[in-house]
């Protein structure tokens, strides 16, 4: 049978199943094949905090969305073209996001009466007209997998577990994905269990062959490789890029990296990744709690290390006092906050941008620190280096605000030239700095206002620092009112003076009246929305803040040069509050806190409304 091949410019697939069905792995492997094929891509994993919620229930549904295209794309896509539903719960939980006409590949074996009842279906939606608006491909994935593995010495249960690989094989056929990488991945993953490796490979190939032979799929699709700038690429998630950025910062600063961290979703993968790279002279310390994590990092920084702590919002709350100590002792420290939905425990696996004001003000006293926010998964690499640059140059804690969307999302990353990475090294102080030959630990560099970094082991520079207010210069304890006023102001002035690049505006013909501003992970959806507006003839300017504190010097000027400024945030208007207070600009906020990134279509609508508005 000759099957038709249809060309597409982009596709959005969502794999959905029980949290034990291996959907994240399936998505990861499809992503790897897609990356290898040369499409541009963007991913959005979405999973519950429960490791194994009750099987077949709505709270237990885990999904992985992948957007791939023959051109550069900016988001994991608004609405899937294809939903792979491994059970009724996966169908029900995701159907609302599915546009009319989309494909549904459903695992009929799981659509049993009991499973249907679990999620409140009276009848079988695959058999009645519930799914009339969509193109349904009913495939008995589980039983086909079991049949394909009949020759293997496997229990039925073990054979059934390979159904995700069958699904992956089928989708790989459907979209012409290369298969070699997945096969070698399975061989490696199950190197110690060759039978399991063979079974998974057989299931994967059976899925492919099923697509080739079955009549349920009469068309397969091709998405040509994207024309991306030349270079070597790999696919990378935000957490991995952030970990690599910290390693690069250690190399480029010539400082040994010390990570003090306590496991917390969605930041733990940074701890996992860094602990694999001890050969770089990295020390990773899994502390007894969040406070000890940052305390140990600060202690290591006092000893001359690049001290880092990684956490999420609840951890930042616990670390606040120690971060304040780093502010006042003026030691370099990187605090990574992979933001998640709050308050309190909130929704640990869901994303949010709600820690900005905590990063700015969440400490006692006047306690300013620089804040850097990456704008895409791969940008976490550069943002980590930038945070380290500021920390060591100005001897200050720096907050790096990633979030759950960046942390777990992935995209192709054009590898940087190592030789082009910035040199961020600084010298420890080794000589007395006062005219009388003594050492003044708080005598500042006249340009940066940074104090000397004299580490233990340096003869003649013995000194004491601490959380009590310090006399300007000597660092001795001081309760002098004027000294305190001066020290408060100089610490603020140091942070205000951090060198950050000007804010760039994307305004192609300079005729836009509306500026859309963003920060952090909203870059992709905002930029995609801006494209849509421009494609339909609208005029809109875009700017994105990477440095939230201090703000680029030209920020106010840019905000004031547009009739309207729209600021979408995944919070209730935290940056808007700061900008309004600082620049007296009447920012138009757009806020959603659903634990999910914005959709491009949604933002395009909002932008259009602002353009059209009075």
């Amino acid at each position: 049978m000759t099957k038709q091949v249809q060309q597409l410019d982009r596709v959005i697939i969502r794999f959905a199943g029980d949290s034990g069905d291996g959907m994240q792995l399936t998505g990861d492997r499809f992503t790897a094949g897609t990356a290898e094929f040369g499409n541009d891509l963007s991913t959005l994993p979405n999973f519950p905090a429960e490791i194994r919620a009750p099987a077949g229930t709505l709270p237990g549904v885990s999904s992985f969305q992948l957007h791939f295209a023959d051109h550069d794309i900016l988001t994991p896509g608004d609405a899937p073209n294809v939903l792979v539903a491994m059970n009724p719960a996966a169908l029900k939980a995701n159907l609302g996001d599915l546009p009319r006409g989309a494909d549904i590949i459903a695992n009929t074996d799981e659509f049993t009466k009991r499973n249907l009842q679990k999620v409140g279906y009276d009848g079988n939606p695959l058999e009645d007209d519930t799914l009339g608006e969509w193109r349904v491909h009913a495939v008995p994935l589980t039983s086909l997998t079991v049949r394909a593995l009949e020759g293997f010495d496997l229990s039925k249960k073990d054979a059934e577990r390979s159904k995700n690989m069958f699904a992956l094989g089928l989708l790989s056929w459907l979209y012409h994905r290369p298969t070699e990488a997945t096969i070698s991945f399975l061989e490696q993953k199950f190197a110690k269990k060759p039978d399991i490796a063979k079974a998974n490979i057989a299931a994967f190939q059976a899925g492919w062959n099923y697509g080739e032979t079955t009549e349920s799929f009469s068309v397969s699709y091709e998405v040509k490789p994207a024309k991306l700038p030349p270079g070597v690429y790999r696919n990378i998630s935000g957490n991995q890029a952030l970990a690599y950025g910290l390693i690069a910062a250690s190399v480029q600063s010539k400082l040994p990296l010390f990570l003090g961290s306590y496991p917390i979703t969605p930041a733990s993968d940074i701890l996992h990744e860094l602990s694999k790279h001890k050969r770089f002279g990295i020390r990773t310390f899994q502390a007894e709690d969040e406070i000890a994590g940052v305390g140990a990092a600060l202690g290591a920084a006092f000893g001359g290390a690049l001290g880092v702590t990684t956490t999420s919002g609840p951890g930042v709350a616990l670390k606040a006092e120690t971060v304040g100590l780093a502010v006042t002792t003026e030691l370099p420290l990187i605090v990574v906050d992979v933001q998640r939905a709050g308050p309190s425990t909130g929704m640990p696996t869901k994303t949010e941008q709600t820690d900005l004001l905590m990063a700015m003000f969440g400490r006692n006293g006047e306690s300013p620190l620089p804040i850097v926010a990456p704008m895409s998964p791969s940008d976490c690499f550069d943002a980590a280096i930038e945070a380290a640059r500021i920390a060591v140059k100005y001897r200050t804690p720096v907050m790096l605000l990633s979030d759950g969307y960046l942390a777990n999302g992935s995209e192709p990353w054009k590898l940087p030239e190592i030789s082009e990475l910035p040199d961020i090294s600084v010298a420890y102080t080794t000589e007395p700095n006062a005219e009388d030959g003594t050492f003044l630990p708080f005598k500042r560099d006249t340009e940066t206002l940074a104090r000397p970094w004299a580490i233990p082991g340096t003869a003649g520079l013995e000194h004491r620092i601490g959380g009590i207010e310090k006399a300007d210069g000597t660092g001795n304890i001081s309760y002098d009112p004027n000294n305190h006023d001066r020290m408060v102001r100089v610490r603020q002035a140091k942070i205000d003076g951090v060198d950050v690049p000007d804010l760039q505006v994307d305004d192609p013909d300079g005729e836009a009246k509306v500026l859309v501003l963003g920060w952090g992970s909203t870059y992709g959806p905002i930029a995609a929305a801006v494209r849509r507006i421009r494609k339909s003839g609208g005029k809109v300017a875009q700017a994105h803040l990477r440095h939230l504190n201090p703000l680029p010097a030209n920020t106010g000027e840019i905000l004031k040069s547009y009739d309207k400024v729209l600021l979408p945030e995944i919070n209730l208007g935290q940056l808007a509050l700061l900008l309004r207070a600082r620049f007296l600009v009447d920012i138009i906020s757009y806020n959603r806190v659903r634990g999910l990134p914005f959709k491009a279509e949604e933002l395009a609508g909002v932008i259009q409304d602002v353009i059209d508005g009075d």
């Binding site: 070597v232 000890a292 082991g457």
Partner: protein
């Protein structure tokens, strides 16, 4: 930073090539404890002991938390970090784990170490971080002006407990032993000779050494340890705990009891051979723990000395070994290898 060579005691810390005296360790800061505070005696004992170590002064760091005793680092002409309440062991852990060439001391009190910082203390002990922890125990909160502490006796009348405190106190020695500490000792501010002999052993120990120092707060809890200082009775109630020696005071001795535990009996009632001989190096800490329980309820007899002193790899050395092993297996880190390590593809 100094290259790590495996070793014990102070062998990783650079030695001074000049002779040092007590004045070399005094900073120019005026000491501001209340007149009569036991902290003065401890400070003087430490300042006069440090020259004996012969270490480079710049390789010594004192880290403290919050409380009266935590002002200690300001008065020593070494590196110092006066940090925040309870967190000194955590901060010192990062420093000591990454700098095996430093002698790192933690100065803390009963509130700082056992209340707000209890978690950090027990984890430092189990990890065996290379620290000397001096726990000044005065059984009261001094800096906040006289509330009961986690070592105050039950029923303590203070500003925050006008009807008497309700909580059972910690026994710091028992706590440390329960937390897998490799070196645990108790001494007293007024006995400089004993204090310095304990410090000598504590500094020679690689790993965490916890030294509880009974320290008098003459403002809010005066004479808390008076019996141990009273020439009339101190020799009778002080049970000397010394490795290889019978555990006894002038008039009392520790023996095995019929129920399998230990008990304090009249010295004259037992033969010398029946007195329990202390073995600080015993791998099993249960006997040391039993010894630590002998000072309940209060001061009928108090064991003083080194309860436990065992060899166990220090945390910094273990950490460094893993780094070396990773380098040996995978070669030194190269950024380009790291970035190219996943599935990559080339465009153009």
């Amino acid at each position: 930073m100094t290259e790590l060579v495996n070793g014990k005691g102070l062998s990783l810390i650079p030695k001074s090539d000049v002779k040092q005296g007590m004045k070399d360790f005094k900073s120019d800061q005026e000491v501001r404890w209340c007149p009569g505070c036991g902290d003065y005696a401890i400070l003087a004992a430490v300042q006069s002991f440090l020259p004996e170590l012969g270490l480079k002064r710049e390789n010594i760091v004192f880290v403290s938390g919050i409380g009266c005793s935590s002002r200690f680092p300001y008065y020593l002409n070494t590196y110092g970090f006066h940090s925040i309440h309870g967190r000194a062991p955590a901060i010192a852990t990062g420093l000591a784990a990454s700098r095996p060439d430093l002698s790192v001391w933690v100065i803390t009190g009963d509130g700082d170490a056992l209340s707000i910082g209890g978690n950090h203390l027990i984890h430092a002990l189990r990890r065996n971080v290379n620290l000397n922890i001096l726990l000044f125990n005065n059984r009261i909160y001094g800096l906040t002006k006289g509330q009961y502490s986690p070592t105050s006796e039950i029923g303590k009348i203070t500003k925050s407990t006008p009807m008497g405190s309700l909580d059972k106190p910690f026994n710091p020695i028992s706590l440390a032993l329960g937390a897998e500490a490799s070196f645990v000792a108790r001494t007293i501010d007024s006995d400089r000779k004993h204090l310095q002999s304990v410090l000598r052993e504590a500094t020679a120990h690689r790993g965490t050494s916890l030294v509880e120092i009974y320290q008098n707060c003459n403002i809010f809890n005066d004479n808390a340890f008076e019996q141990l200082k009273d020439p009339e009775i101190r020799d009778d109630i002080t049970l000397r705990v010394e490795h290889g020696q019978p555990i006894q005071s002038a008039s009392k001795a520790v023996v095995r009891s019929a129920d399998g535990g230990i008990e304090v009996v009249d010295r004259a009632s037992v033969a010398e051979a029946d007195i329990l001989v202390h073995d600080a190096h015993r791998a099993d800490p249960s006997l040391a723990f039993a010894l630590s329980r002998l000072d309940e309820p209060a001061f009928e007899h108090v064991p003083i000395g080194i309860f436990r002193q065992i060899d166990r790899p220090a945390y910094d050395v273990l950490m460094a070994e893993q780094m070396e092993e990773a380098k040996a297996q995978q070669g030194p880190g190269e950024l380009s290898d790291l970035l190219l390590g996943g599935d990559t593809w080339r465009i153009g």
